[in-house]
Subunit: 335 residues, 2 copies
Amino acid sequence: MNTTLGTPVRTVHYGLGPIGLAALRSVAARSQATVAGGVDIRDDLQGRDVGELAGIGPCGVSVTRTLSEAGTPGSADVVVHCAGSHLDRVTDEILEALAWGASVVSTCEELAYPWYHHPDQARRIDEAAHATGRTVLGTGINPGFAMDALALCLSSVSERVDRVHIRRVVDAASRRGPLQVKVGAGISPDEFEVRRRAGTIGHVGLVESVAMIAAGLGWQLNSIGETLEPVLASKPIRTDVVTVDPGSVAGIRQIATGSARGHEVIRLHLEMYVGADDPGDVTTLDGVPTIRSSSTGFHGDICTAAIAANAVAAIPRLRPGLLTALDLLPVRATL
Amino acid sequence: MNTTLGTPVRTVHYGLGPIGLAALRSVAARSQATVAGGVDIRDDLQGRDVGELAGIGPCGVSVTRTLSEAGTPGSADVVVHCAGSHLDRVTDEILEALAWGASVVSTCEELAYPWYHHPDQARRIDEAAHATGRTVLGTGINPGFAMDALALCLSSVSERVDRVHIRRVVDAASRRGPLQVKVGAGISPDEFEVRRRAGTIGHVGLVESVAMIAAGLGWQLNSIGETLEPVLASKPIRTDVVTVDPGSVAGIRQIATGSARGHEVIRLHLEMYVGADDPGDVTTLDGVPTIRSSSTGFHGDICTAAIAANAVAAIPRLRPGLLTALDLLPVRATL
């Protein structure tokens, strides 16, 4: 039985943007964890109480610029890292946290399954984690659950899976302002195309989800593809932060696929736009039996913060190394 | 990465009834496992080829009466045990398999979460498993997934869970004959009442699911309750094995609840009857956020055999001891 509660896990929160503060609130709400530090490079945050920043009242812990200013090595158990989507930008921060003696729970999207697209960085982090006896876990709602891990969990009762199809529709208007901006709400189709070519628009992590599903089911993919196009508004949409005219961009439609032996075996269809009619998640495993699961409630910000906080509590029970959701689901459909 | 395939796991199948043979077929279909033996006490099965019994053609392995006749200790890695719903009847068989040197994957319903209702037997099995360095895993679709583990998996993205409500409706006509008989299809309401009082009708494992959910969410329950009543046919129903007249029993409606601090916090509603209109599974986690997941495809026989076979492949990666689905889901909603 793993229900016995031990000493609370001490966390330092690295990156105090909207998701970082949400994760901090989520950790602070749990008896199994206690907030021991907050790290951010922004000048205007230095010395401020992290609890006040998070809107939960003072907690006697001040923001510092670095981990070493937050405390001596060993003064925290887990660094909750919410400071970037791309591994190129965060690998050094994760290695720094390990060197400082902590395990890491990170919402970095590319860390949700880095073994396919970033094997070198994954190996470096894995080796450093083993060398320090600590755990690094990439997590989040998407990638990390809604469009990958949930399908693998469902596959545990599959006699055979032939194809995985997941469709996630998010009403961006229900999300924070930066997310609405991130999906291009309110810009012109031309501007969307400029940003698409520059790689500054779209969801990070969809191809990682394809790779995780394939690895989890033991499938060798020939190729992983991805497309990104705008969803255009057919009527005026007004949210708390943007106004979208008809014909302007309401958000994104992003599709990632994985093929094996010439057949598309994984298709992840993600729409995130303001005014989405029917938000929700539908996971279909074609096979024996065909399993179809339709879910509502997987709110991007709330659930990413929550799974990070829930993962913090699980860290003492996990093995050392770089782990992903895949490693937390040992029973999956097998070949 | 756990995707590397190692040496196939060698299985002995203990109990060759419908579920045992389905699990054997499922194991035989996987490259990660290989069938090494079949054990059953029935005289008419002795010496017969297990593959022929399972309908997949001869596989060169004959039924024996005991494990020791099936091979020397160490000649198999996992005993796939499908020989009873109640721990009282199967504990000795599981201890025997451990003493014989194998791990055990069992579909015994009460083993899906024995720590609450059968703590002494759970402890005996756990100690024996630790002593031999082997793993015992209780598994199945229900209990083991549809009405417990899936909810715990979903809770990993929950900021807070206040109440769990799961409704499973099974069309017994889609299941094998013994299941239709087990739910009382075709008997009179009076006969149902006689069997209900004798404890010879109804689903085994629902209260185990309640206990697993509570343990997984860290909830201390004051009480677990269960009710069982017949679902009566409103029109004639004819299946391949029974004919049900209007007014006769079509199947069961079984409800188990768990209460904490005077409030019902878990409600598991199971209906299994012939002619069920809208079969499927609905899992609701009231909380932040409220998550609702509606699934189809969790076929009792197919999925129980499948999860047992998928668990066999996972055994080499699991720690020693008595494990349940709870132990395979380290990240859950935490308090």
